[in-house]
Symmetry: D2
Subunit: 344 residues, 4 copies
């Protein structure tokens, strides 16, 4: 940790800081510059993160040397984490997320009925995608909106998983539902609004079940990594990160899909990175170009929403792809992936 002193800082103030640092068990490097004195504290910086060092008399600015994440940092696994989902049933295929093959997750926003879910599950499976996405519990801005089918939806999801033989991802919103959701899902999803629901993150950290954390609308990339760190620090290292758009002033899209987060994350962490262009844009006609762009930017996977009749969808119909558009997208993603030496 580096403390820049005020121009007006006194010798006594500097000595007090040196003294405090030693009490905390840190060595000190004091350097007098032309306009400012700078004090470096040498030791495990993370122990100082919570101290309000800027409140020490004479301090102007505090500069951190290290990144605050440790387990999620790329150094821990420079070759990249591979998350493996064992086959749904004997003789089935496992899914490897983070390897050369991209992971495609597709399905309806919400589970609306048995028939619709089974039909889409088959479509997704046949298209070559890897994971069926479908929400049983839906976080909705309005209490008057459809809140998902809940446990009944979960039951249908388990049936689709079994019948069609496809892995599933679904959101868990309430820590009290964690066990029932984990009993069905191959991958748990933490939604954007829960990215900093630390209660939920800690509880998931105690499971041994892959989890995909979606970036919150107002959260930095560093904070996303810190949320992964919450899960990992409890022992669960199978974390996927999902870029799904941040909130900005631009009204023409639902969110602003921050695709540069993909190469930034690939540089900073060993965890796989997924892009969700459905929530990231909010309009079906933007989903395909942004899915292609996500793959071109280096994502390890893409998550999209599909619906047989978007105009009748019970949530987020505007961003759902028709099956035929989805199939065209799958073809294009495969071809973009090849440019990067990957495949779908």
């Amino acid at each position: 940790m580096i403390l820049v002193l005020k121009k007006s800082a006194t010798e006594k103030e500097a000595q007090h800081i040196v003294h405090m640092a030693q009490i905390w068990g840190f060595k000190v490097n004091l350097s007098r510059g032309v306009e400012r004195t700078v004090i470096g504290l040498i030791g495990d910086e993370r122990e100082l993160r919570d101290k309000p060092l800027d409140m020490l008399p004479g301090v102007e600015t505090v500069l951190a040397v290290l990144k605050p994440y440790k387990l999620a940092a790329v150094e821990g696994c420079p070759e990249g984490t591979h998350i493996i989902l064992p086959p749904v049933k004997k003789g089935g295929k496992k899914v490897v997320i983070g390897g050369p093959e991209l992971c495609i997750m597709a399905g309806p926003c919400a589970i609306e009925s048995r028939k619709m879910l089974l039909d889409l599950a088959r479509l997704v499976k046949q298209s070559g995608a890897h994971i069926l996405r479908a929400g049983a519990f839906k976080p909705r801005t309005s209490p008057y909106s459809f809140q998902g089918m809940g446990n009944e939806g979960l039951r249908l999801l388990a049936e689709a998983r079994e019948k069609v033989g496809i892995h599933v991802i679904t959101e868990v919103m309430d820590v009290r539902d964690l066990d029932v959701v984990a009993a069905v899902a191959d991958v748990l999803q933490v939604g954007a609004r829960n990215m900093q629901n630390f209660t939920l993150l800690k509880a998931i950290g105690k499971l041994r079940k892959p989890v995909m954390i979606k970036r919150g609308l107002a959260n930095t990339i560093e904070e996303l990594l810190m949320s992964a760190e919450y899960v990992m620090s409890e022992g669960n290292h199978e974390v996927l990160l999902c870029e799904r758009g941040i909130r900005t002033f631009e009204p023409m899209t639902r969110n602003t899909l921050d695709l540069a987060a993909v190469p930034v994350l690939k540089r900073e962490t060993h965890l796989p990175v997924i892009v969700d262009p459905s929530h990231g844009t909010g309009h079906w006609d933007l989903v395909v170009p942004m899915a292609r762009a996500g793959v071109a930017a280096g994502a390890d996977g893409i998550m999209v929403e599909i619906h047989p009749k978007p105009e009748e969808a019970m949530s987020d119909g505007s961003q759902a792809l028709l099956p035929k558009t989805y199939l065209r997208m799958m073809d294009e993603l495969g071809r973009v992936a090849r440019v990067l030496g990957r495949k779908v």
Copy 2:
């Protein structure tokens, strides 16, 4: 709901929309303009909110006529809601939030020790403030940071409440802790990161206990009102709203305190509005000016953090006021309040 059709929309598309509207039980007002045809759907617009009307063939834009909040809307109680906290003990004073007297909430960010809490509780009480704030459960970006004293902190808070005779507000983060927190707190606090934790909001809605909802960092004023609506739609109408800063590109402050939210909320809702300049700015030297500004903007109350030794605080020390600065602030707030015909 108003649908603007594309320039290229056909007569058949227009008729299909009219037909659908009638199926949904809406009357239709069709108006052919110079460049666009506009279809108004007459009926209870809220039933159409979830329908992806922009997916109907021929539709260019969908314009909503009504605000999505109902119970929180100002029309429901134009004179403003008064939230009354009964006396802590017999013979004590009740607190009225939303009336001519401002409500000041002050105390440490986190409960750190019994002595510190009792000392500050007495200071807060003597200064004329109304509610002691102090966190037992702390939402922290890093899993390695102090997470609060938890249940032991709650116990200390109950003791301070009793001993000093002051009302208390404290945050609940986990729906499983709701009962124990509600047993101590006079006002529950839902933190910014949980503003859209709908699980928690619904559970609080089932209680009969005042709750203060803090605006999330990326949340609009409308979304804050919708979170209040979640609580109210479950039957709990005692909701306070708190502006505590939104996230913007400006790095010199921790958040950007959106004080214009105060007069906007006073126009839109009957619920009391509190301003938190501590989290809103993140720096103690900005807290007093922004507390004054909050009162001048028309807030019904102010929440601030204080600490006897900010440089030793276990969380958020940089934004804590020294007791003497706090007392000066109390004096100034009283004088600004008088300009608006209010008092502290």
Copy 3:
């Protein structure tokens, strides 16, 4: 234009609005809904844009039916505008921007010396790129930073253009420099900070010279189109639009490259769309992935900065590509383009 009246609006207020509308020459469609009365004004909405209709007694909200841009709107040229740069010299090749071949613009951020410019111009030409970019006038946040070589830089740019036989784009910051810049440049560049320098836009509109307008850091896509409209309404229809990142709360990148703006613009306008991943990210290691993503999103061209020795660059060295990285990028862009049926 549609006016939603307040619930409390009186019959007299409604009649006053109808009366005013008629004075302005508009027909009126009045529709009484369950909770609100809605008045549609039928006529050329653009004449009403500047009127503060929300100030009319009884009005709650004003909803616009039409987009504010006209000449830039896609309807004007659904097949897309092709901008043609005639050959630099006899026998040379023309450049077509907006056609199936992508347009690549590359070169140094600033012109620093004759040798460096000529060397890079040759590299850019040989790599198959179409336009040399290089700044003579540099907008810098600090008055103490290198401000560009000015007119001497322009002279060198003219020499490079002539000697190497490559088209050039360069920024004009000052309306007084417009003639000298236009004498050299094949395409004028309006920088992000000048996107709403209406003086400059109007002056450029009077020329017959292509111009590329960069999106401002805080500007919406609609405002970018309105800036194009400024140029076009003066008679100059050869406008390129450039997405180069907007300002958000994310500190890990210099700006947030809003790639979804590409398909949005392709839907809204017939003008060609260029992506600048150098300014859009600010870090050289993010430039190549985001250039690929830009092409995959459907951009008509890419603009990047290169430098032979980035660590010695006089401005923006951190985002400059080394020549060898640039050449690898060119190869990758060609391959992504093919997926979309285009080429470099």
Copy 4:
């Protein structure tokens, strides 16, 4: 300047950096920490600002020690700059901006007619305000909107100034208009969209005429100070800074008025700080509360728009105060000012 090296940085890379630093004329402080080596460069940091030090092999992060502004920094004039406008005519009163008396600037958004301007000038003068604001040149998002009366407007402004005996402020958008505007205006205004029009700033720096620079919608406080630095570095030290709202995701207000910028600026600079709640909110009913809040936050002055018939205003009518509302505001501002030991 402080360079944090990568964990993987080699001894050779460290020595290369030390070597380069010495070539640049800097002393070096090299400190080996537990996880990182840190190199401090001792000398005039401002000379290194433009160097892409993060491109040096082995460097992970570059941390600046000093603020980039010098002339605008508070140390240059800790007691605060007073800007004095000499009397409009002999026997008239001078205006002091930055002293204990607040400076109120009021008037129409745009000059619309002679009568309207003279009437408002008299009202403003009689109300005790100090400066008449009125635009002759108007920056408008749309080329089809009213662009101001231009030189004819300037002529009317000169007449109002003379006849009524009141100081005037008006915007200059085009560097070619600078002389004619400066011939009329007591204070020049640089609008938000021109905050980084460096051409204009430099030209104004060469005058000896006060200028008020409005913060751009996407500009940080530091960038606002750097724009002041542009003017000051050319010799013109009479600069006022104006907070008028930044662009965020919140749609209920036109901009987000960042009032915390007021105490931040008062801490960082000696220049006077003005708040414009008209542009800062965009709605007349929010202007008075936010004007009060601006004074309470410590602003040196307030700028507001007024109009005799807002519903007929040719620009920005929605944010204009009626004269009677304005007069009530003046009374309230005076009373808030007294709490801070100031007056209107």
